[in-house]
Symmetry: C2
Subunit: 512 residues, 2 copies
Amino acid sequence: MPTPPLAIRLHPADGVVIARTDILAGTPIPGENVTALARIPPGHKIATRAHAEGEPVRRYGQIIGVATRPIAPGEHVHSHNLGMGDHAKDYAFCSEAKPTDYVATPATFQGIVRPDGRVATRNYIGVLTTVNCSATVAQYVADAFRRNPFTGHDPLADFPNVDGVVALTHKTGCGMNDGEPLRLLRRTLAGYARHPNFAAIIVLGLGCEVNQIPGLMEEGKLEGRPRVRALTIQATGGTPKTVAKGVEFVREVLAEANAQGVRTSVPASHLCVALQCGGSDGYSGISANPALGAASDLVVRHGGTVILSETPETYGAEHLLTRRAVSEAVGRKLVDLMDWWEEYTRRNGGELDDNPSPGNKAGGLTTILEKSLGAMAKAGTTNLVEVYRYAEPVTAKGFVFMDTPGYDPVAATGQVAGGANIVCFTTGRGSVYGCKPAPSIKLATNTPMFRRMEDDMDINCGTVIDGDESVAECGQRIFDHILRVASGERTKSEQWGFGAEEFAPWVQGATM
Amino acid sequence: MPTPPLAIRLHPADGVVIARTDILAGTPIPGENVTALARIPPGHKIATRAHAEGEPVRRYGQIIGVATRPIAPGEHVHSHNLGMGDHAKDYAFCSEAKPTDYVATPATFQGIVRPDGRVATRNYIGVLTTVNCSATVAQYVADAFRRNPFTGHDPLADFPNVDGVVALTHKTGCGMNDGEPLRLLRRTLAGYARHPNFAAIIVLGLGCEVNQIPGLMEEGKLEGRPRVRALTIQATGGTPKTVAKGVEFVREVLAEANAQGVRTSVPASHLCVALQCGGSDGYSGISANPALGAASDLVVRHGGTVILSETPETYGAEHLLTRRAVSEAVGRKLVDLMDWWEEYTRRNGGELDDNPSPGNKAGGLTTILEKSLGAMAKAGTTNLVEVYRYAEPVTAKGFVFMDTPGYDPVAATGQVAGGANIVCFTTGRGSVYGCKPAPSIKLATNTPMFRRMEDDMDINCGTVIDGDESVAECGQRIFDHILRVASGERTKSEQWGFGAEEFAPWVQGATM
Ligand SMILES: [Ca+2]
Ligand SMILES: [Ca+2]
Ligand SMILES: [Ca+2]
Ligand SMILES: [Ca+2]
Ligand SMILES: [Ca+2]
């Protein structure tokens, strides 16, 4: 039985350490030569030396803010004495890019190979909607193929390789600006329509919405694609006729979808992993995120792709990524995103540095910069090879960045639209997130939460905190789990059936 | 059999008439002394006299825009020759306010009287969510009480006065500004939680979201209310435990909810009618909207309330409402809203005058001003007694205005949050809208669409176009229908089960 430390030091240069457990006032911190001056909740920071007012405070060896008043050794460091200051930025483009250490014989998983050569991890039939006005009708089409929990009657019983029929509905599509907000919605819908995890798709509209089907089909390059059926309620003549047409189409494509859904051995280079965190706590940046980072490095070394996102949560730490960019052009795309976000949030009366949620703050994260550094750890250490707009098709192999908000469902929806076929979601406070048609693996940052929400958590990374496992060992365990889930093993959220409600395209611009 | 006119003149001063049917080039227009110079689609405008470039064009006797090039008699008038100009505004506050002609013996309906004296038209149990992260769990609670369509097993069979258990989920609640965007979401959720059509409510959160339950309960004055149960997934320990707790609460309140759901005769003053239009066409402003206006006048004369909304669709015609305001203060609230919208849309890169959707334009509406005048007709002719913010509790009796976007689900969600217990929704292109817990009556503007979508339409106002019925007769028919629906008669959208997907709180500010 390992003896876990009282506090965790993340870097030799740090002026703070992180409480692993509730530390009472007067408790000496072994190895740090300080005594806690106040009660320090788990995940929160303790000063290990004095800081003058205005002096930078470091964690991960990086500046997470400045002391807003003098801080004594042993003091609790949080919102009352730590704030954002001007943090020097040196982009130093490409200065730390290095050759990727590819694995000689890549791992494999049991994937579903589509006619165009792309590889799926699941095999769904989807009902997408152009507008909220067709959402209920879309549900009714999907409902016709739901297994009955009482009788056990399963309309898909003869199609064991089909994972289900899912309606992905939303609240927008009309009363909206027909410029970028509409293009962004269409990129998202088209990304789902083309997602390899869908064997076939219905695109269902009302008829008079701003997001007209012909424009969506053209902008999304969906015209003439097989197994895409467009329908509007108005042209079809109302609810029951449209439901009947939708159900008829699904019945037509089920046999072929089932035949396509046979799994074969494919290289891990077909993995496209969306990296997410939500409900972070002070452990996120110590356990689950660095461990997922180790797994990300394995995915990339096996030839696959990992997508880091949540731009506002990377804000302030982007100069660490520009150094790892493969070219200045790629690095500048990231810097441009940050400029766009500054302007966007200012225009909307917000500010980028007040993003930690009440949950984050209660968990011990004080500044967005501190949260950014912890969040970025998910992406590991390989080169940044490309930067994408929200929901843009991800074609590069390696570590890429996609612009998304930090809000979990909106962020992951962009990544899945980009083609992610696995989501890895770290959480400290606990999340029950799922995102059909991609499986979502949930990684707990701490053992108490893992135990409390074991019905919803897939992997416990609290082992790193407990002293049971190193970050590298936990990363290998995550990688192995990714391969099993990509091969068909169902995640907790899939077992419960999560993943339709959570479809949440990014809404930009005014609702009119 | 009445002979319908070829074109409809709305006002003696108008320089255009409206094609009732497809008019071919060379067809003389009886009574107008002009001949169509081009094909005029139904609902579109024909010039009945020459207009010089820059000259105002009138419809309803009101300026709907200016000629952007010279228009000859008989020409098709649309986007190619009609644009927005500067339209003179004279608010003339209260100048046309007049005493309301109340009905001596108000009509009655069979309503459900709550312990606090408020009257419901339906009797639901609701599951509301603070954040998207609890949406699926909310669905599972509601799902436990769904009637099984195959076995006929109905978990609510012993509770015939309960209309159902409905989960109303959304895509926001975190990654958001904690200022006005959060207050607005909380007003909406609290309005639903307090809605008389709910016998009991669960408020379900994840736990770490920006929209924390304690803040919602306090701002929404929900603390200590009976039959409101707050739950978070994190505190309850994950999905199955939280579903079980939710189901347990519903089972606890079902008997009392059923007992409360007995209907008794109540005066029509308890009607609170939300006025909506969506998928408008050139007939909206000729048939369904004026007919609904006649019904609105009856509701007000019987002591009830009607709520006009869709602020951007009223933009440009607000000076007609300021004249009917009961006080300058009420009128100025409306003007202030318009100023706010100008600033809001500018900030979001939009403009208020480009709102007609592709469907509107295809139906013959050229400018937002023209659409505004047609939309306002729904509110009838009585005094404007109050102006409310989005989702604010509506307590006044009479004709009131509530600030909402024009987009149907977002607009009606605000009105229902304000306490509307009936929605009257006019549509020209066809809509399948429903909005639990309030019934939604759908009024078709034209007979062909009514026939094509009869499964979804409740009332045909195309009779006015066809020459079968006057606007006043159609208004009386609508009013009688409202009383029956308020008494429990189910609308088309209720028969199909619409109304959960369509819950769409107004999202303001940036998603972070
Ligand atoms: Ca435009
Ligand atoms: Ca700032
Ligand atoms: Ca996130
Ligand atoms: Ca703030
Ligand atoms: Ca509307």
